[in-house]
């Protein structure tokens, strides 16, 4: 069973629907016990980084940390990816999980924000995309759908970047912990491919 964490930051219908279309058994939950029992965990989310505060308060952060430690595959989407970093300047008092270093920051002055629409993926030469399980079968230059004003920095475990006023992390992957800044549930065949890669990921 795949747990899709509901922390009251937007609409989960699209994510659940896309997982269902791929044949996955996904449930939305705000219960740490359900998260602990899940074979895979997805943290979606659109909206303010502040909303992730609820994860700490409700015991979900502890459940996620424990599951990640046990090797359960985890996918963060949009704000769910940003939460994997140390934090975000959008809500400096709220801490992320810190699996990836650095802070998410607002797009620089002179770059129109929000970044809304279809933008292309590029694979950093170092990781080559081919090494990434999440990006398996996704071609360099494939388009995905974005809607956000804060960008996650490029880090050692970045497996795909997108260019918008400079490069940012489109996807990160470190062992069983993965994240995408774009919305795979809204990114056509490319997005479904990324979700399928996550669903097929085995420890």
């Amino acid at each position: 069973m795949i747990a899709v964490i509901d922390y009251k930051a937007g609409n989960l219908t699209s994510v659940i629907k896309a997982l269902g279309a791929l044949g996955a058994d996904a449930v939305s939950t705000e219960d740490p016990a359900v998260v602990r029992g899940a074979s895979k965990i997805i943290l979606p989310g659109v909206g303010h980084f502040q909303a992730t505060r609820l994860l700490e308060q409700s015991g979900l952060t502890a459940a996620v940390r424990e599951s990640i430690g046990n090797g359960v595959p985890f996918l963060g989407i949009c704000v769910g990816l940003q939460w994997l970093y140390a934090g975000s300047t959008e809500a400096p008092a709220v801490h992320g999980l810190g699996i990836f270093p650095g802070e998410c920051e607002h797009f620089p002055a002179g770059v129109q924000a929000p970044h809304v629409g279809w933008n292309s993926l590029a694979f950093p030469a170092r990781s080559g995309g081919a090494d990434s399980l999440l990006m398996r079968g996704v071609s360099d230059g494939a388009f995905v759908y974005y809607t956000h004003s804060y960008r996650p920095p490029v880090v050692e475990h970045t497996v795909a970047v997108t260019e918008y006023g400079g490069p940012f992390s489109a996807a990160v992957e470190r062992g069983n912990v993965m994240g995408v800044q774009f919305h795979p549930e809204k990114s056509g065949d490319t997005g479904l491919r990324v979700l399928r890669n996550f669903l097929e990921w085995a420890c």
């Binding site: 609409n11 629907k17 279309a21 659109v46 809304v116 629409g117 388009f143 809607t147 809204k186 990114s187």
Partner: protein, 259 residues
């Protein structure tokens, strides 16, 4: 590179598409789910379903149509028409819409923009504005007024100040329809679109007047639109989304081309 978006709009009445595209091999050309899927496969970057049902009883039918359309659609999906309250919006989101579009209800109660944005995120709120140039003003474009009831009733609001207010209240995008251009197929109102684009930081979707590939190219360059919406142009085989995007890409407009 961030591409310009082509948005296909389906006008739906009592759960059925009116003026639908006549795909030769499509048996049911009135089915919004089938048409939305076809447009998405042809490369439409987003789908808008606009409910033009006049009656209250039609809402249940609409929600059923939204749910069926959303089921197999994996590009952004906006639903507009008849959303009067945060509860109406919630019902449409729960049926599977990614964004809602509000027009006259937002003018009647601008706080509705804030309320829906708080619950579902700013990116999920599209404020639709129907505007008409003011021919008697020495700046007819800058003084363009905002209209409701299909362009029949003037609101007293100016398009630029209303767009700015919508943005400040947390709208994620503006869907701007030129009432002067709408239905003419003589081209988008590029001047109006450019003025609104310059007035806000959020994306502006241009609507009204699409008749040719050149019209789209013009509204993306001169009009500085982020996206362009068309319904009628696809109805009579004038252009399908795929051909339109290929020709725009050839003209140097950044486009996401279907595989």
């Amino acid at each position: 590179m961030l591409t310009k978006r082509i948005i296909a709009c389906l006008d739906v009445k009592d759960g059925r598409v009116v003026k639908g595209v006549q795909f030769l091999d499509l048996i049911d050309a009135g089915d919004p789910a089938a048409l939305a899927k076809r447009h998405a496969l042809a490369g439409a970057d987003e789908i808008v379903l606009l409910d033009i049902t006049a009656t209250h009883e039609g809402r249940g039918t609409l929600l059923e149509a939204v749910a069926r359309t959303a089921r197999e659609l994996f590009v952004p999906f906006t639903v507009g028409g008849g959303i009067r309250s945060a509860e109406d919006a919630a019902a449409v989101f729960n049926a599977g819409a990614d964004k809602i579009s509000i027009n006259s209800a937002a003018l009647a109660d601008p706080g509705l923009i804030d309320a829906i944005g708080r619950s579902f995120g700013a990116q999920a709120v599209v404020v639709a504005i129907d505007a008409r140039r003011d021919a008697e003003n020495k700046d007819p474009v800058g003084a363009a007024g905002v209209y409701v009831h299909g362009g029949r009733k003037r609101t007293g609001r100016g398009v630029l100040e209303w767009a700015r207010e919508a943005e400040s209240r947390g709208a994620g995008e503006i869907l701007l329809t030129s009432m002067d251009a709408d239905g003419t197929r003589q081209g988008f109102d590029c001047e109006l679109t450019a003025r609104v684009s310059d007035a806000v930081r959020i994306p502006v979707i241009a609507s009204g007047g699409a008749g040719s590939v050149e019209h789209f190219a013009a509204v993306f360059t001169r009009g500085r639109a982020h996206a362009a919406l068309a319904a009628g142009i696809f109805h009579f085989g004038v252009a399908d989304v795929r051909t339109l995007k290929q020709e725009l890409a050839a003209a140097g407009i950044p486009m996401r081309l279907p595989c």
